[in-house]
């Protein structure tokens, strides 16, 4: 446990160092650069690309979370139950529609830039959060729900102070999935001129420069690792506090 934490810290230091002073890592990537090509991507600042990449994933995930959680809450209320199949279909379509196809359809409407990528990430991110929120809200133990009604909580009070807090670890797991998937998916946004780390990978592929592909890929992979870790430990902490998964007896 301690060893793996140490490795993670080391990786974080390496990542930050690489983004701040990419040139100092030239010797590492030089062997992968094709005869005489530059070893480090310099067309844009790697730090700026990374921040823009993260911002895009963050915005898309946040929007997907708001919409999915909202939908899941709606369809688990007595009044909204009939919308459950419809909401499921919407979330499923979002997931089955390939992001590349979304880009292709969105570009003619919104033009090049970040918007088509944001739309693709948003649609792709709906399903995991929606399904997890649904699971979380519908698996609150029966006796707890019964008690919440029995003590005289209103429907809103039950949702806010019992159902959502108990579902929170599962909802967070959904957001984590979406964020990690989006982090990888966002790279294709560079094909339609969104500022993401995909730019580095694509530049490497076009010029047959493995060093660029490696740089872009490694930064994305490390970011995904850290986001995954961050969410997992948050979920564990909240889950442990609640002991929610243990039945009352």
């Amino acid at each position: 446990m301690k060893g793996s934490a140490l490795i993670r810290l080391l990786l974080l230091v390496l990542l930050v160092a690489f983004l701040l002073t990419p040139q100092s890592f030239r010797p590492v990537f030089q062997p992968f650069a094709a005869n005489g090509a530059p070893a480090i991507y310099t067309q844009s600042s790697l730090l700026a690309l990374t921040l823009s990449h993260l911002a895009m994933v963050g915005v898309a995930t946040l929007a997907a979370a708001i919409v999915s959680i909202g939908l899941a809450v709606l369809v688990t209320r007595p009044a909204g139950r009939e919308f459950l199949p419809l909401s499921r279909s919407i979330a499923n379509i979002g997931q089955t529609f390939p992001p590349v196809a979304v880009l292709a359809l969105a570009v003619p409407v919104f033009g090049f830039g970040p918007i088509p990528t944001l739309i693709a990430l948003f649609l792709y991110g709906l399903l995991p959060i929606f399904e997890n929120t649904l699971t979380g809200l519908t698996t609150v133990p029966h006796s707890v729900q019964e008690a919440a009604r029995g003590v005289g909580m209103t429907d809103t009070q039950r949702l806010i102070s019992v159902e959502l807090p108990l579902a929170l670890p599962i909802i967070l797991a959904g957001i984590r999935l979406t964020a990690v998937i989006s982090l990888g998916t966002a790279t294709i946004g560079s094909t339609v001129a969104a500022k993401t780390l995909g730019e580095v990978i694509i530049a490497g592929l076009i010029s047959n420069n493995t060093a660029f592909v490696l740089q872009g890929g490694l930064v994305v992979a490390l970011l995904a690792l850290f986001i995954h870790q961050g969410f997992t430990s948050l979920e564990a902490r909240i889950g442990r506090q609640a002991g929610a998964m243990q039945p009352a007896q």
Binding site: P141, E146, A147, G150, V151, G152, L166, A242, A248
Partner: protein, 311 residues
Amino acid sequence: MIEINGITKVYEGIRAVDDVSLKIGSGEIVTVVGTSGSGKTTLLRMINRLVEPTSGTILIDGRDNRDLPGHELRRAIGYAIQGYGLFPHRTVAQNIATVPKLLGWDKKRIESRVDELLALFHLEPSQFRARMPHELSGGQQQRIGVARALAAEPAVLLMDEPFGALDPIIRGKAQEDLIEIQRRFATTIVLVTHGMDEAIRLGHRIAVMDKGKLLQFAAPAELIAHPATAFVADLAGRADRAFRLLSLSPVVDLLEPGEASGEPIGAQASLKDALSEALWSGRAALPVLRDGAIVGRVTREKLMARAGQPQ
């Protein structure tokens, strides 16, 4: 005082509760007993309107229970259930404070009430306040469940098989605690159970239900001596009704002056325990002990006479 008038609940054509009427006095413990599917839980849940009746009315202290919105009504009525339903993400103190907080009590009053209740249930406040429900044993969870139900000092407490998941020894202790608390606060208690033993032990009066109908509503002795139907007689236990009858009265009822030898029996022990001891030790009479002194005796002959069907 709870007045249930011709209450009926129909679920998809099935009469889960069928025209039940009964009056429960203030400060009374009424146990509702029946097999599963008898409608006893539905009856209970109609009192605090977790279930809305199809027809009929329920008056609590003279007021129709539909006068208030359901959630406000429920804040004024204690409710404890099987499985306890403690909020797993909240501490023991927060769980107990649920209803006072909904009612907007100030912080100081809530804290002192929480500590008072923890002490009442033999749980050291400083040790238990900050614990999470999953860190408690079943018996402790059960006590917190009842403490939460009593937190806002309700005049009426509804209990749905509250001791169902406890092992026999802890259940016995929990029943004693409940009797003690009821004496102290004079809370009106309606308790649903499927066990006749529990119904007899706790109930001042017992309501027997079957297939949605109220078969008999009577004091335990009456129920055992004169069951209204064969079903009630079966539920009351034909085989050991003599002992059930004896279990209702204390030794002091048959106390007489005189000598007896051997181990004494306490004046508050049940007649059933006295007869059992007399049979076991082969004695015709047992000395009776009260406040540390022998005050007389109880004879096997009288015990046996008392076990017969009352006329």
